[in-house]
């Protein structure tokens, strides 16, 4: 028998699978039932297992990471200067740009962080489907809204590519700090589904950085926002998530 049993090999079709009654698993005998409970090794003592955080410690660390990250992003936004086009021109366009370039990524970032850090119904985090859906929605809604709602689709003035690349790099730098802070706060926090939950945490950091940059960068070019602000957040989600899950998994 091949080690890998694909659908084709086992002759499984959708109907067969749908009709499968899981109680039939009981037909397979248990090869190790006779060993139950015999000779369980003695328990280690907690004092010999090293220091471990308590819930109170963890709560403080998380608050500190969130507050520190928010403080960092606000400080950088203020230092760079708040965009000057908000009070000028058509106020409805300015409001739309604020929503699309600042509030939307901020809300999406907060949402994915909540989903990633949620205990879920069984204390093992949100369902895989919810995690992947949250990521897919956050990763697509911001660039799409940016393309549609920023003003113009593509601004072909000279230097636009350089401006996009500068913003791309700025989002990575801005998002790197919250990513590290959250990585420290969430060390050994995810017993299950650590890869997806880490991708969401990193994506949340990237989206928060994109929102902070959106409060400074006074572009009306949809492509600039999609490629220079949203794309690095998605990149950070995957690249940061790949590293972060080594830290966050138990």
């Amino acid at each position: 028998m091949s080690a890998r049993t694909s659908d084709a090999e086992t002759g499984v079709n959708g109907d067969e699978m749908a009709e499968f009654d899981l109680s039939r698993l009981g037909e397979i005998p248990d090869p190790v039932s006779s060993f139950s409970g015999s000779g369980t090794p003695p328990p280690p003592t907690p004092s010999t297992m090293g220091d471990a955080l308590t819930r109170g410690d963890m709560r403080r660390r998380r608050w500190l990471a969130i507050a520190g990250s928010a403080g960092w992003l606000v400080a950088v936004s203020v230092a760079l200067g708040i965009r000057g086009d908000m009070g000028h021109g058509d106020s409805s366009h300015a409001a739309l740009r604020t929503i699309v370039q600042v509030l939307l990524p901020a809300a999406a970032g907060a949402t994915v962080l909540v989903v990633a850090m949620s205990a879920g119904a069984r204390g093992l985090g949100s369902r895989t489907r919810i995690l992947t859906s949250a990521f897919a929605i956050a990763a697509t809604i911001f660039p799409l809204a940016a393309l549609i709602g920023s003003g113009v689709f593509f601004d072909d003035r000279p230097g636009v590519i350089r401006a996009i690349l500068t913003c791309f790099a700025l989002v990575l730098v801005l998002g790197g700090v919250p990513l590290v802070a959250l990585g420290v706060a969430l060390r050994h926090a995810f017993a299950a589904n650590a890869p997806w939950r880490s991708v969401l945490v990193a994506g949340g950091a990237g989206l928060a950085a994109a929102a902070a940059l959106g409060s400074h960068c006074s572009t009306q070019c949809g492509t600039h926002v999609a490629v220079g602000h949203a794309l690095p957040a998605v990149f950070l989600a995957f690249a940061g998530g790949a590293i972060l899950h080594r830290v966050t998994r138990v």
Binding site: M1, A52, A119
Partner: protein
Amino acid sequence: MFALSASLFDFETALPAPSQAGLILVSEEHAPDGGRAEVDGAMGRYAEGDDSAFATIYAGLAPRLRMFLLRLSKSRPTADDLLQETFLRMHRARASFAVGARALPWSYAIARSVYIDHVRARAVRKESLVDRDDAMPGVDVAGGVDADGEAIAIARQTADLVSAILDRLPVNQREAFVLLRYEGMSVADASRILGATESAVKLRAFHAYEALRKALDMEHRKRGAKSDPARKEQRR
């Protein structure tokens, strides 16, 4: 944007009572609720920093986790090592145990993570997953004075066969099957532990079942052919 509720940071989300609707099978040796509340409560206290709760947690979880690791690793010394590592990681991660959560699925998720790391480490070292020297023997069938010798031999062969087929299955199928069939987990719990969707878990268990069923049927036919003297005569 970071106006997250305090509950998020300490996982104090009100957890609903675990659904029993998805419960599939419970191994005979594991009572479904035997001491569960006590272990869950102890785990909650342990997460708050009460080290004295550890003994209760170990007594409640260690036998089941050991069986789980034994079923996956097929080696008693390895299972014991992995058990120690599991409790070490549980200690390290105790702060992330959610208030009101169940300790068993959480500890299974950690044990599974420990086993996956063990598999990866072995793959890197290009070692076999089962140490042949300490490989688990077949099932010990209670053989009393009246025990039928042939029945014992058949049971032992069957157990060895199941063990061998499980060994050859991909890890994701094996762990899904073991959790549903032997550990008495519901599909919902197993899917959370494995970090997969419920349909993926069912499919993996189904594939494992199909492989095992085929092997057992083949063995049964072979045995039937051997014990049928008329057929033996025909072959001659």
